[in-house]
């Protein structure tokens, strides 16, 4: 028994380090207001203060810090996308994620596991070869593996032929990782607050104030504030906020459900995704199996899980891992996914001057948290989007320059 530890515990005079400064009142004016204190909004606030010296920032959230989709995703990080624009963007995110625990002095439990996308049809194999070639061309580690390779990488996977859709091969993406999502939000929040950013929770934005097509402030449940620039980063409520600002988005919002099982001994190293069976699974640091599937079939703002969805998840999951039949589900939830027509996000300028948007993060938002925060901070600071996120502009739809990422979405939606 470490007596030193006990003695340390009884010694008085120490106070736990306070993560965030106590809540303060809203000031009448800020240089920048960020709507949404999720991972993206907090990351943008952090990089605004750190990279651009803009610390007169208020981050506003109707709920609590990281309480929206930041805490409702399945924490998968990967860059094995299909379009060169997408691959480059997510690859930058992975590189930022790797150093994030050190940079924020906050352990985000970043854990590189490798990511396997299973193919059960020839068509799926073709798309994966395409993804592997695009990835390798851009320096991202993705390789096709056959059944031998799969048996080595994931020995527990059922590679038998006695299932309806036997596995034919897989796309192996070595940098695939998971991290603790709350820690990412808290890490950014603490680091941003240390640099002078104010985080206002329970502060709902109820209106966007504009004058001659330019944003001048926001109306909140705690009063009106004036600001030079506004960034909206409110996955799940993007259309509602855009409507307040006076424009429409090519987004429909659907619930994305997920669940975790009771903790098991560590057995599943890689993240396993089956696009054809519409399921994915990884094992968390706690031993829980984090499982997800397709989005709900119709637009909805209700964060409710359904029995039908779990039934639809369980059957294919048992085809992949038959021994999970007796394992119980521990928690279930739903997040709100802002789906875009081309399965790519929307970042950059809006029809309202000085009002910037970070939206359309459907089922791919968590993995982009650092890079999106960094690049949106740059956009807000210099007033125009930097080259890497230029292709993701809102006006790409009017110009019919979509970035089709459907083939690289984790599961069919």
């Amino acid at each position: 028994m470490p007596l030193g530890l006990i003695r340390h515990g009884f010694r008085g005079g120490r106070r736990p380090r306070r993560a965030l400064p106590p809540a303060v009142g809203l000031r009448p004016r800020y240089d920048v207001a960020i709507i949404g204190a999720g991972g993206h909004g907090l990351a943008a606030a952090y990089y605004l203060a750190k990279d651009h010296g803009i610390a007169d920032v208020a981050v506003l959230d109707k709920g609590w810090l990281g309480g929206g989709n930041t805490a409702r995703n399945t924490t998968i990080i990967r860059s094995n996308y299909l379009t060169p624009e997408g691959v480059r963007f997510y690859d930058e995110s992975i590189r930022l994620f790797r150093g994030l625990s050190g940079e924020l002095d906050f352990n985000i439990l970043y854990s590189e596991r490798g990511h396997l996308t299973l193919a059960h049809t020839d068509a799926a194999l073709r798309t994966m070869r395409w993804r592997a070639e695009v990835n390798k061309h851009l320096g991202v580690e993705s390789e096709m593996v056959g059944l031998d390779g799969l048996a080595r990488l994931c020995p527990h996977l059922n590679l038998g032929r006695d299932v309806r859709f036997p596995i034919l091969g897989a796309l192996h993406h070595k940098p695939g990782a998971i991290a603790r999502h709350d820690a990412v939000a808290w890490g950014y929040a603490i680091a941003a607050a240390r640099r002078g950013v104010e985080i206002h929770q329970n502060t709902e934005v109820t209106g966007i104030l504009t004058e001659k097509g330019r944003v001048t402030g926001v109306e909140t449940s705690r009063g009106r504030i004036a600001c030079g620039k506004v960034l909206q980063a409110v996955a799940g409520s993007s259309s509602l906020l855009a409507t307040m600002a006076g424009f429409r988005l090519p987004i429909h919002t659907v619930p994305l459900q997920a669940c975790v099982t009771e903790p098991l001994k560590p057995f599943l190293d890689p993240i396993v995704v089956s696009g054809s069976l519409h399921v994915y699974v990884s094992q968390s640091a706690r031993g829980e199996l984090v499982m997800g599937g397709p989005t709900d079939p119709y637009a909805l703002y209700a964060q409710r899980p359904t029995l039908e969805w779990k039934e639809g998840l369980a059957a294919p999951m048992l085809a992949l891992f038959p021994f999970l039949a007796e394992v119980r589900v521990l928690r279930q939830w739903a997040g709100l996914a802002d789906m875009t027509p081309d399965f790519s996000p929307i970042m950059g300028l809006t029809p309202v001057e000085n009002y910037y948007i970070d939206a359309g993060w459907g089922t791919w938002g968590f993995k982009a948290t650092p890079v999106c925060g960094k690049r949106m901070a740059e956009t807000v600071a210099i007033g125009k989007p930097p080259a890497p996120i230029e292709p993701f502009a809102l006006d790409r739809f009017a110009a019919f320059r979509q970035l089709g990422e459907r083939g690289a979405a984790s599961v069919g939606h």
Binding site: S239, A299, Y301, A302, R304, A398
Partner: protein, 90 residues
């Protein structure tokens, strides 16, 4: 199981249906600008609250209109499309 009342087939499991999206009016092809068209093709109202949508009963290939609340996941009313688009002349 969530039930949706099909105007043709009565109460059925919602898994038999496909949502066809918001009821929107097509802009006049002769007069619409490029911006009007792209908004028609890609834009969504995506409202929280009561919406009016096209729904499709897959087994019988029947399109109809449903009004539902996207905040509470309640189906408020379903009816044949002819109710809002006028009856087909005999």
């Amino acid at each position: 199981m969530k039930i949706l009342h099909c105007p043709l087939n009565g109460p059925r499991n919602i898994s038999e249906f496909v949502c066809g999206g918001e009821v929107v009016e097509m802009p006049d092809p002769g007069a619409a600008t490029d911006a009007d068209w792209s908004d028609y093709v890609f834009g969504h109202e995506n409202a929280r609250g009561t919406v009016r949508e096209w729904w499709f009963h897959v087994p019988t290939a029947y399109w109809f209109i449903a009004e539902r609340d996207t905040g509470t996941d309640e189906i408020l009313r379903t009816y044949p499309a002819s109710e809002i688009f006028g009856r087909v002349p005999p």
